[in-house]
């Protein structure tokens, strides 16, 4: 049998196996009386995982948290095994005809990996390109900030007697707040901040800059990780060939899983030990923290309007208490030593 035939036959065997497996699970799940179970169709692994997750929630509702977590992870690991199998079969299916046509398999794997790398990275790089326009970026930022503020907004709306006891002022305040966003956009183009909301505007503008920097840093990080994944895949494919040459081709899902694991940790380890990774990861963490600091400044500013203590005020209070406590402890110790 040619490689192409073998690859196709492996793919149909795999699909058939999944159908049978699905059927088995479906019956089992029904026997556990999960009424909302889905009927099998395409996207089997996703559906399988969703179905098992539903049942897991029911079965482990009153279980110990460590047991619950372990159950979830165990199911996820089986789904991972299946995904690796599917990914590997698809790759061989794509490569097989070219190997038969006499092309160098090493170059084919490299090319396939490169394609994979390109497919994984545009999602990240494209995100930046797609949002180059300030308008679009600003919209994304404000929608995130609005979502972020929602919980406290809701609390304030239901709080009795808020700002004079009615929601009218709340609405005015909300308008003022979101109006500030619009005006801040003007400040982004260089106009000086003026008037009542100047401080908030400046904090929003700073938040926007930090948010943009954190997204950029996150993209850089994801690119590096995507690159590592492509490396893992390449490594798995090469090791499979090595094993075949040694007369020990992969024959089971678990064997393949072990191969993925050892290749993955080797490949990630190599990336993780590079100075580039330390730098990109450091930038990512630092930029995220910088944004969080700006975010807090915005939340602090808006909390003041609602008569709520801010995180910064709480920190100050905690610091005072801490210093007083420390002083008292030192005094007590000195008194005890003297006595």
């Amino acid at each position: 049998m040619t490689w192409t035939q073998q690859a196709e036959s492996t793919m149909s065997a795999w699909t058939e196996m999944q159908k049978k497996m699905w059927g088995g699970w479906f019956e089992t799940m029904q026997s556990f009386a999960s009424p909302n179970i889905m009927t099998p169709n395409t996207g089997m692994i996703d559906q399988w995982q969703k179905m098992v997750s539903q049942s897991l929630e029911t079965w482990t509702a009153s279980a110990d948290p460590a047991s619950k977590n372990a159950s979830r992870q165990m199911v996820a690991s089986q789904a991972a095994m299946m995904r690796f199998m599917e990914l590997t079969i698809s790759a061989w299916k794509a490569i097989a005809p070219k190997v038969e046509a006499g092309e160098d398999w090493q170059a084919l794997i490299t090319n396939y990996t490169e394609q994979m790398r390109r497919q994984m990275t545009p999602n990240v790089a494209g995100m930046n390109q797609a949002t180059q326009g300030l308008n679009q970026l600003w919209e994304t930022y404000t929608s995130q900030i609005q979502a972020f503020n929602r919980p406290w907004m809701e609390v304030m709306q239901v709080a009795p007697g808020f700002v004079g006891g009615s929601n009218a002022e709340m609405l005015d305040f909300t308008k003022l707040y979101w109006g500030a966003f619009d005006r801040t956009f003007g400040s982004m183009s260089g106009s000086p901040s003026v008037g009542f909301t100047r401080e908030l505007e400046e904090k929003l503008a700073k938040g926007f800059e930090d948010w943009r920097a954190s997204r950029q840093a996150m993209d850089d990080y994801q690119l590096l990780v995507a690159d590592a994944w492509a490396g893992v895949f390449e490594q798995v494919m090469r090791e499979m060939i090595q094993r075949t040459e040694q007369g020990k081709p992969v024959q089971s899902m678990r064997e393949l899983m072990s191969l993925w694991t050892s290749a993955a940790d080797k490949s990630f380890d190599a990336i993780f030990r590079s100075p580039e990774y330390a730098q990109v990861q450091g930038n990512f963490v630092n930029a995220t923290m910088q944004y969080r600091i700006s975010e807090r400044a915005i939340v602090d500013e808006t909390m003041k309007y609602g008569h709520f203590p801010t995180r910064t005020e709480m920190d100050e209070a905690h610091r005072n208490i801490y210093e007083l406590r420390k002083e008292i402890k030192a005094l007590k110790k000195a008194l005890k030593a003297k006595a």
């Binding site: 073998q6 690859a7 492996t10 065997a13 795999w14 058939e16 196996m17 049978k20 497996m21 088995g24 897991l56 079965w59 482990t60 009153s62 279980a63 110990d64 460590a66 047991s67 977590n69 372990a70 159950s71 992870q73 165990m74 199911v75 996820a76 089986q78 991972a80 079969i89 061989w92 398999w105 494919m237 060939i241 094993r243 075949t244 007369g247 081709p249 992969v250 024959q251 089971s252 899902m253 694991t261 993955a264 940790d265 990630f268 993780f272 330390a278 990861q281 450091g282 930038n283 963490v285 630092n286 995220t288 923290m289 910088q290 969080r292 600091i293 920190d315 905690h318 208490i321 801490y322």
Partner: protein
């Protein structure tokens, strides 16, 4: 190349998957029936003898007759990261129980779970206040000038600082998997050291206050992401029908994911001074008003380290020998990894007797 690299047979694969699924189902049923009490850790009988703020000093109940109890207590200082329960995971995997059985009078400081109110705690508070007050409590209770101190992991670095500042209160110092030279790497540099260099701890603490335990845990999982987040649970499928093995696994899970947040200021100082600037080995760390000079450690020192440690590479621990002032210094390697020091069969059998014998030989 003749054969196809993936030789899966539909019947065999179906059998394999069915078998996995059956185990999975059985395992989930077993897991669903477990109670929290089944997977509790840190259960050796003990008594809270001193509390201060959120910390608690425990004394483990002796199991030998009073006259057989070694007269100088051993005070254990564990890391601020994770919980000390790893030293007492279960009855048959417990450094603490093993020491108690050998007649050692064991005390342990439990740091508790820092909240936002503890964000300003510094290493000075942890070392010169909490540890020192516990040491004084034990000394007073036993009418002793000096006690034995066992520092584990980060608790070992902290115990080294404490001993160099208060050498008159420590009779023998024992360190276990303790980082001393944070830039010593040997053949394989620790990833934590590499990563620690890129982050800005000032920003982290300004942004987060306390450092969430979950964030620290995620960092540890990322050291071997596939092995720790995927393969480990795939392997678990093989033990789900063995309740004893399953409970062992779950107790470890219980410990791993029980991660207290880290007090912001203490975290900041530890990352900057220890990880990034490697000041401990250079004699430049300042705790409160005290400069830490490891040459002040002149009492006997036992340094236990794990030869396959991926978190604290052996050279990082062994570096202590060159800087301590002690004339009685012992290196004690174990052929295990960082966690293996608590759970491996070898450590269970040999670690506690080695420590107990070393202590007893020094009176």
């Amino acid at each position: 190349m003749q054969a196809f690299p993936l030789q899966i047979n539909p019947e065999d694969t179906l059998r394999e998957v069915t078998e996995i699924n059956q185990k999975l189902l059985g395992g989930i049923k077993t897991l669903a029936g477990l109670k929290h009490s089944d997977v509790q850790v840190g259960t050796a009988p003990r008594e809270a003898v001193y509390t201060e703020d959120k910390i608690t000093l425990y004394r483990y109940k002796p199991v030998v007759a009073e006259d057989k109890l070694f007269p100088i207590p051993l005070f254990i200082v564990y890391a601020l990261v994770n919980r000390p329960a790893v030293a007492d995971l279960q009855e048959d995997r417990s450094l603490i129980r093993n020491l108690v059985k050998l007649g050692i009078d064991v005390y342990l400081i439990d740091w508790g779970y820092p909240s936002n109110a503890d964000r300003w705690l510094t290493l000075d508070d942890y070392i010169n206040v909490y540890v020192d007050n516990c040491v004084d409590f034990i000394r007073e209770k036993h009418g002793l000038d000096q006690i034995n101190l066992l520092g584990i992991c980060q608790g070992g670095s902290m115990s080294s600082c404490y001993t160099s500042i208060h050498p008159e209160k420590v009779k023998n110092l024992i360190l276990m998997v303790a980082p001393i030279d944070f830039h010593a790497s040997g053949r394989s540099p620790g990833l934590i050291n590499l990563w620690g260099g890129g982050i800005n701890p000032d920003l982290m603490v300004a942004g987060l206050g306390n450092i969430p335990g979950d964030l620290m845990n995620f960092g540890f999982l990322m050291l071997q992401p596939f092995a720790l987040m995927v393969q480990k649970y795939a392997d678990m499928i093989d033990i789900v029908d063995d309740k004893a093995k399953l409970l062992n696994f779950l107790r470890m899970e219980e410990w791993i994911f029980d991660s207290p947040d880290l007090a912001g200021e203490a975290y900041k100082q530890f990352v900057k001074d220890f990880f990034q600037d490697n000041k401990l080995i250079k004699g430049e760390v300042v705790i409160g008003k005290d400069k830490v000079n490891l040459a002040n450690i002149t009492m006997p020192v036992l340094n236990v380290y794990a030869e396959k440690d991926h978190l604290v590479p052996p050279p990082s621990s062994r570096a202590l020998e060159k800087v301590v002032g002690s004339k009685d210094y012992t290196d004690m390697p174990f052929p295990v990894g960082h966690i293996g020091m608590y759970v491996s069969g070898k450590a269970q059998k040999d670690l506690a007797p080695s420590i107990a014998n070393w202590i007893k030989a020094r009176g």
